[in-house]
Amino acid sequence: MIRRRMAFLVLALLAASTAVSCRSRAREVVVYLSIDQVFTEPILRDFERRSGVKVRAVFDTEETKSTGVLNRIVAEAANPQADVFWSGDPVRPLLLVKRGLVRPYASPNAAAVPPGFKAADGSWTGGAARARLLLVNTNRVKPDERPRSIRELASPRWRGQTAIANPLFGTTTMHVAALANAWGEDALKAFLVQLKANGCRIASSNGEVKRLVASGEVAFGLADTDDAAEALREGAPVEVVYPDQDGMGTLLMPTVVVPLRGPHPEEARRLVDHLLSTAAEQELVDAASHIPLRADVNPPLGGKRASELRAMPVDYSRVADTMERLQPWLREWAGL
């Protein structure tokens, strides 16, 4: 009896091991993403259907958005696994460019992307963008009290009623770095100290900010376009405010496609071409309410084009440097 069980166990183990090792690895491409899985997976599946190339993806978690997979690419530098990085912001890929982990490719589909949103050598190319916006709970904030600037996050009027995501992770990192460049680092630090003193909640992620605003736990918070779209889709009592339209402008963050030094260069180029196509950008715009960069892509229902917004002027390369420099201070500020 025991021998029969042992034989069964050995057979089961062999079958399981075979299942692990025999997964087809022919014609595949490995992509790491820091854009939400819920929006990007259908686009990747579409590529699989059209090209016959299997896509193997690693998605970031909400908490480590943009840095989890980025650091995995850095950690794997000695033996690169990823062929393409599809980033939710344009700054972190510059850290990969600086480390020499990119294999530049100028896709023909990048021609329609405005020059400010791509590198001439093809090391990165921008796509549909997100805006950093204020998500407002309409049950808690009267129409005539709607905030107009991100500075109101630190206003005593809203003491203990606002939220931002932890600036150590995700798009908030880039946002505070951009603010530091716009205002000066001392002014930014003073703002963040004031924010904390004002009882602003430091959420684990933008998704968490959305949840806090949608449930009415806070009156308003700083989030991204896709978080707002999701809250609106769920029927939450929220409204979107593009901040500082009468001042420095709203921060826009294009998504970015970065070809890496992975083991499947040919498939990687095909995937980059697909991700930079009009169809893929339209799909992302429609699904995630992103803001189109290209003229041949329509904005989502009720959404805006980049040209219709007063955008905050940003030098992504400078923001990347500031972002690295600010980290120790931000960790101290966050208590980590």
Binding site: L9, A16, V20, V30, V38, F59, R72
Partner: protein, 530 residues
């Protein structure tokens, strides 16, 4: 000449089968845990990493956060003991009705990822939740909330160990005490002191799990020390050497915990789970029975509330109908990884657990190493494994699910090892000695005597290893091969803007999958009993 030499070598090897096998198993454990951690520690020598690490370690906020985390872990342990000790006695030794069902219900959430339970509490108590209120939400998103969520999730560790520990108590002691004292006094003065080793082990496990927990405090926005370690790996300035340095105080805590456990349990450290007692009449609670029943029912049902909230959220959000679109192969990946890792853990546990239970040379050291891996922040262990295994020559491991299997075995080896050691220490070593005197070598004794005699205990160790691997998130999320994520990772990544109904439905699949594995395992174990 040559065959003669070969025969001599073979005979010598056979005589030394046990230490050789222990050396092989120990080598695997050292290779999976110690080598990666030491090589990660070597990154401290790079550039100014050592200077940065020294500056970080000398900063007051580092120590204040560590103290805060130790405080939270201690509070979770005290709360879990406050729930688990009386409940363990009630469910293990008294005439409370439906005790077995209550124990199963109470213990089940332990087999689920804690962040999933926190998500369930959010759907229940968050401002927009089923029983949401401003007060409930404020309580949930606070250190008190973290303590309560973790205490309820981890209390079953105490309850279960106390229940099985009570079975090891010599019934004659209890019967003698009952002649002169009531059930309450017998429980407090006789039974609980006798299960002290089980309580010590439970406290160690609860404290370790609470101290290394990252998902729940991050979700509930409470700063903890593991988050500080994580910030060196998940932030923009990737600094693995500094993360390792920050993990050093946790290693010291781990050693302290082991010393505490060994002192509290003495030589009975592994002999806490009893499967051998004869039937003893239940302690009669008399007029206290209704109140005790109400307490047991509340403790059994309370941890199920967040799971019910998840199911309701999934149902209302049409999450179940959307499941086929989003689940992919993640459930299969979870099962396969957990099955293979659980099996590897069992293989290591049979050899090392036996050595630890029989106090063979090196056995206790390897046990300590496994416990060290258990309390090391998963992120640190994960990055150390990436640095060690991500080489072109090892692509067959790093590029496949094999890396997840190895990482899970490294992290949860202690669970299976302890369970196997307990099983071995419960049985008499007379059979083994008799077989040895009869000339049976170690492998033969293992296959013909030890494994058959302790089949149930080893089966339980295997099941426990599989369940812990199944509930893992923090280890796998760092190194799963592209496109082969387990279900816990898929839930966590989809949680970012994924439809809440779908995320809740996927969580329900995780719950159902774990329940099925547990039910199947329990059925096999009980079948063996009959």
């Amino acid at each position: 000449m040559a065959p003669g030499m070969g025969w001599v070598v073979t005979m010598r090897l056979r005589r030394r089968e046990e230490p050789l096998l222990l050396a092989v198993a120990g080598g695997v454990l050292v290779g999976l845990v110690l080598v990666p951690l030491v090589s990660l520690g070597g990154q401290l020598a790079r550039g100014e990493a050592l200077v940065h690490a020294a500056r970080t370690l000398s900063a007051p906020r580092t120590w204040s956060l560590l103290l805060a985390s130790l405080g939270i872990a201690a509070a979770v342990t005290v709360a879990a003991l406050a729930i688990g000790l009386p409940l363990g006695v009630l469910l293990g030794r008294t005439d409370v009705p439906l005790r077995r069902l209550a124990l199963w219900l109470h213990a089940f959430p332990l087999s689920l990822p804690p962040f999933l339970i926190a998500l369930g509490w959010f759907h229940l108590l968050g401002r927009g939740g089923l029983a949401g209120s401003a007060l409930g939400a404020r309580l949930l998103f606070s250190p008190t909330g973290v303590v309560l969520v973790l205490a309820l999730a981890l209390a079953p560790v105490v309850t279960s160990l106390v229940v099985v520990g009570l079975r090891a108590v010599d019934p004659s002691l209890e019967e003698a005490a009952l002649l002169v004292a009531g059930p309450w006094r017998v429980s407090v003065r006789i039974l609980l002191p006798l299960v002290r080793p089980a309580v010590a082990l439970a406290a160690l496990v609860v404290f370790s799990l609470a101290l290394s927990e990252l998902g729940v405090p991050m979700f509930l926005r409470v700063g903890v020390y593991p988050a500080m370690v994580f910030s060196r790996l998940g932030g923009v300035d990737y600094a693995p050497g500094e993360a390792f340095a920050l993990a050093l105080p946790l290693f010291v805590v781990a050693v302290g915990l082991l010393v505490f456990e060994r002192r509290a349990a003495g030589r009975r450290a592994f002999g806490v789970l009893g499967l051998r007692s004869r039937e003893v009449p239940d302690l009669r609670l008399g007029r206290w029975r209704p109140a005790a029943t109400a307490f047991a029912a509340a403790a059994a049902l309370l941890p199920l509330l967040p799971l019910a909230a998840l199911a309701i959220r999934a149902g209302r959000g049409r999450g179940f109908s959307e499941l086929p679109r989003w689940i992919g192969a993640s459930a299969w990946n979870s099962l396969l990884d957990a099955f293979l890792a659980g099996t590897l853990i069992l293989l290591l546990a049979v050899v090392i657990g036996h050595a630890a239970a029989r106090r063979r040379r090196g056995g206790l050291g390897l046990d300590a190493l496994a416990v060290l891996a258990f309390v090391t922040p998963a992120t640190v262990l994960g990055v150390a494994l990436v640095a060690t295994w991500n080489r072109p020559s090892l692509q067959a491991v790093y590029g496949t699910s094999a890396i997840v299997v190895l990482a899970l075995a490294a992290r949860y080896g202690a669970v299976g090892l302890r369970a196997a050691a307990v099983a071995f220490s419960q049985g008499s070593d007379h059979y083994e000695e008799a077989a040895a005197i009869g000339g049976a070598r170690f492998l033969r004794r293992l296959g013909r005597v030890l494994v058959p005699i302790h089949a149930r205990g080893l089966g339980a160790a295997w099941l426990l290893g599989i369940v812990f691997c199944l509930r893992d998130l923090e280890t796998a999320v760092l190194l799963y091969p592209a496109g082969e994520e387990p279900l816990t990772v898929r839930i966590f990544t989809l949680e970012a803007n994924g439809p809440e109904g779908v995320v809740a439905a996927l969580s329900c699949v995780q719950v159902a999958m774990t329940a099925a594995v547990l039910a199947l395992g329990a059925a096999l174990l009980l079948r063996g009993r009959r």
